[in-house]
Amino acid sequence: MAKKPLTVNGKRVAVTYDDPQMPLLYVLRDDLGLHGPRFGCGLGQCGACTVHIDGAAVRSCVTPLSTVDVSKKIVTLEGLGSPEKPHPVQKAFIDEQAAQCGYCINGMIMESAAFLAKNRKPTEAAIKDALANNLCRCGTHARIVRAVKRASARV
């Protein structure tokens, strides 16, 4: 077993592993007990596992542990905000009631938070393009777009 320090949600943590190819998702969920990033496909196709690495939205299910180190700032949905102090994007999702089962919502929020950080006042079409590789099966898309639009006025 090897050990490695990581920076997750502003804290330094030590993780143990024996396979450097293990995707980051399993470290976050199984070793650190985080519930934000979720397993959806393991193929980088659906976006449910999205986290931020140095501010960029990344698919943690296809990010080998070997490619991250303590210098990278990893932020998950939990690190973005809390029920008491939600991030503006999380707040907008609550205000728009933008969830059905909510399983994909981690990816929707992480993807749009990274997008809005670089794109002020995006058009509706730009929001839809930004989320084009995040899948939702319940059909919550209309609300998600409204939520991102609402958040864009606050971020």
Binding site: R29, G42, L43, T76, P86, A98, Q100, Y103, T140, A142
Partner: protein
């Protein structure tokens, strides 16, 4: 009706039974106690308990499949009892604690389950008021926030009145308790924000996929590369290098790997070398519809018969119009693959899963392991959206089989390929329609033949994959109950007959996916209705109105016409030219002929060069009677529109002779953000009517509205779902 003290008081008063199902330790404690909480549908105590602090615990056999319906259930109870929403704790789908209110399906959670809760709450309130009257010495009482007041000064709380004691009141559906008048509603009918969303958007929610128990190991199943293949040889040498792998489990054709970590279980399953026999049980997909048509008919069921269609069609001067429609095999496509945890301890199997039917699953697991049903407890934990019987029950069986073999609690989460490949499927459905029309354009006869899997005895238990593979006891049948619904039509033609040809076999384990059968059947009926309107050279909305004699249905269509700014004219548009053809189509249904009314107008754009269909807008009017939560209702309708637009335009399971080949999102794509339509919804609220279901009905009208709009735009009739660009181009070239 006085509040009686029974021998259960100590149990309920102890609080031991009222546990949060997120806490595994508490659950085990409660279970070990073996206490019998009432579960009968005829007892108030089965549904409700109020402790000394006034906290209301509601026990619901109906669960939340990701629709948000449990917020609506809380509203119903809060309203009827006059308690704040925040004081309600809801426990769902636990076979030890919640009554068997039937599977969570068919859009009946509010219509049936919610109304059972409303009755229990009304009976409880009545008893509480009677006791308060005795205590306060007057029956001139008011209630607010769980506090009963007499003239503003004397008061007593629910907690003081019942505090942990049982109600011991019987419920009799034949003699319903008087409920609150809708004119006094303060909570029901309001867009109360969902209780689960803040936790879900901040990563604080515990989904089934997040659930863990102490001492748990991870299991992964290795499915055969072909349905029906036999496991011939297993070579474990490659997995010896993986330190976390504990063991390989082999039971007949069931193969699994147990490991300390989830990743090692996955690595182990991937590394394991298994040899399987060849098996080709599936039909040639290119000839699927010939296969369906040639399948043996186990039973013919006749619905909606009036007059004599054969005679009417044989009459002189009657024009016969025919059309055949098909709807392909779909997968549920939950974003989170199925997951379950199981534990065998002291002869008792505890199964945690996101099953929509924990009481039914309990019976299946008991049968599988030859256990008395009392020795199995199934506990619901919300998972990824479900949309019908997907893989959750199978994951529960996988976990149970592995846990039984290894002796420790086991968690199983399926891979994406497991989910796409092995969840039971929405079966292929074929529909032949015929009608007779007289010289004036009146429909004189209507016939439909609907090819769908048979409903086997029992009808609702899909065999568990693990039991089948391991050769363990299982009810060996295909199941799809209720898919005949909406084959019969509500239009008043003089001669009608709908026949469901229930097929003995179907290519995959058939199951139910949102609006099962009803959507496919309505698709054919409402497309064919449009074909008849065109044959009669009549506006399709007006054509429908002519044959509806139902006031609510007519009102809905009138409101839909106004909302969609419907232009009265026959289809297709004659002047359609240019690169992009635009059109509109209407569809309408009264769900199962007896409940929710729904009408939809689709607007489409068809690219003549590429054959790509865009659906920029859907307009809908919805009448499900009394609305509990209008925002939750809109959320469901939006979901139905988007999910079913996806199924109509894109989705089709692919397979070879051995197995499913569309095993990921690239080979089984679903609608993405840029393709999603704008949705305009008008809700008709009828507070004084019964609340009907809304989880499914609006899906029923989506495929036909799109097909009818494409016809309006192009003059081309699309009858085979999905409407791929290739099919659209072929249809346009054929005309």
């Amino acid at each position: 009706m006085n509040i009686q003290i029974s021998r259960r008081d100590a149990l309920l008063g102890s609080g031991a039974l009222i546990v949060s199902f997120a806490l595994a330790d508490s659950l085990t404690g409660a279970h070990a106690q073996g206490a019998a909480k009432p579960l009968a549908l005829t007892e108030v105590d089965s549904f409700l308990a109020i402790d000394k602090t006034g906290k209301v615990t509601v026990y619901s056999g109906k669960v939340d499949l990701g629709t948000g319906v449990t917020t609506a259930l809380r509203q119903i109870v809060a309203e009827e009892l006059d308690v704040p929403l925040s004081r309600i704790e809801l426990i769902t789908g636990d076979t030890l604690l919640t009554p068997d209110q039937g599977t969570t399906w068919a859009s009946v959670t509010i219509q049936v389950g919610g109304m059972q809760l409303r009755q229990a709450a009304a009976a409880a309130r009545q008893a509480l008021l009677a006791e308060a009257a005795r205590k306060l010495g007057t029956d001139n009482l008011t209630v607010a926030d769980g506090v009963v007041m007499a003239g503003g000064r004397k008061k007593v709380t629910y907690g003081e009145l019942i505090g942990g004691k049982s109600f011991a009141i019987k419920l009799d559906p034949k003699q319903p308790v008087k409920e609150k008048s809708p004119k006094d509603y303060k909570v029901v009918g309001k867009p109360i924000p969902r209780v689960d969303i803040p936790a879900k958007v901040t990563g604080r929610f515990t989904y089934m996929q997040d659930f863990r128990v102490p001492g748990m190991l991870h299991g992964r199943v290795v499915r055969p590369p072909a349905i029906g293949a036999k496991l011939e040889k297993v070579d474990e040498s490659a997995i010896k290098k993986i330190p976390g792998v504990v063991r390989v489990v082999r039971e007949g054709n069931f193969l699994g790997v147990i490991a300390i970590t989830e990743w090692d279980a996955i690595r182990g399953a991937n590394a394991l070398k298994a040899t399987w026999s060849k098996s080709e049980t599936l039909p040639d997909q290119a000839k699927l519809w010939e296969h369906v048509r040639a399948s043996k008919v186990a039973k013919e069921e006749e619905y909606g018969k009036t007059g004599n269609t054969a005679e009417a069609m044989a009459k002189d001067g009657v024009k016969i119009i025919k059309a055949t429609y098909d709807f392909p095999i779909n997968t549920h496509g939950s974003i989170g693959p199925s997951c379950a945890v199981a534990e065998f301890k002291d002869g008792v199997l505890t199964s945690w899963s996101a099953s929509q039917a924990t009481h039914a699953l309990r019976k299946q697991l008991a049968q599988m392991f030859a256990l008395p049903v009392e020795k199995v407890r199934c506990i619901y934990i919300e998972g990824s959206g479900c949309y019908g019987r997907n893989g959750h029950e199978d994951a529960a069986a996988d976990a149970a089989l592995l846990a039984k073999t290894v002796g420790t609690p086991i968690r199983v989460q399926w891979s994406r390929a497991d989910e796409h490949g092995w969840d039971p499927k929405g079966p292929p459905t074929l529909m032949d329609m015929r009608a007779g029309m007289d010289a004036q354009g009146n429909v004189t006869a209507w016939e439909g033949d609907f090819y769908m899997p048979q409903q086997t005895p029992g009808g609702f238990l899909v065999p568990l994959v693990a039991a089948t593979l391991a050769g363990m006891p299982a009810a060996d049948h295909i199941a799809p109950g209720n898919v005949f619904q909406n084959a019969a039509i509500g239009y008043k033609f003089p001669n009608t007959r709908s026949v469901c040809k229930r097929l003995e076999t179907t290519p995959f384990r058939p199951s139910w996916i949102r609006t099962p059968g009803r959507m496919q059947n309505t698709y054919a009926n409402e497309c064919f209705m449009d074909e008849l309107a065109a044959a009669a050279n009549t506006d399709p909305l007006e054509f429908r109105r002519k044959y509806i004699d139902d006031k609510r249905g007519l009102e809905l269509l009138d409101r839909l016409a106004a909302l969609a700014k419907w232009e009265k004219r026959p289809s297709p548009l004659k002047n359609a030219d240019g690169a992009v053809a635009k059109g509109r189509g209407v569809s309408y249904v009264k769900y199962e002929l007896v409940r929710t009314y729904i009408g939809a107008v689709a607007e489409v754009e068809v690219d003549r060069r590429t054959g790509v269909i865009r659906v920029p807008k859907f307009t809908l009017v919805h009448d499900c009677g009394q609305i509990i939560n209008p925002d939750g209702l809109k959320n469901q309708i939006e979901g139905n529109v988007i999910q079913t637009t996806s199924r109509t335009l894109i989705e089709e399971l692919k397979f070879d002779r051995s197995q499913v080949t569309s095993l990921d999102w690239a080979s089984y794509p679903i609608l993405k953000f840029p393709q999603v339509p704008d949705i305009v919804i008008e809700l008709i609220d009828r507070p004084n009517e019964k609340p009907w279901g809304a989880g499914e009905p609006s899906a029923a009208v989506i495929p036909s509205a799109i097909s009818n709009a494409v016809f309006d735009a192009t003059g081309v009739r699309l009858r085979s779902v999905p409407y791929t660009p290739a099919k659209v181009l072929a249809a346009m070239h054929a005309t």
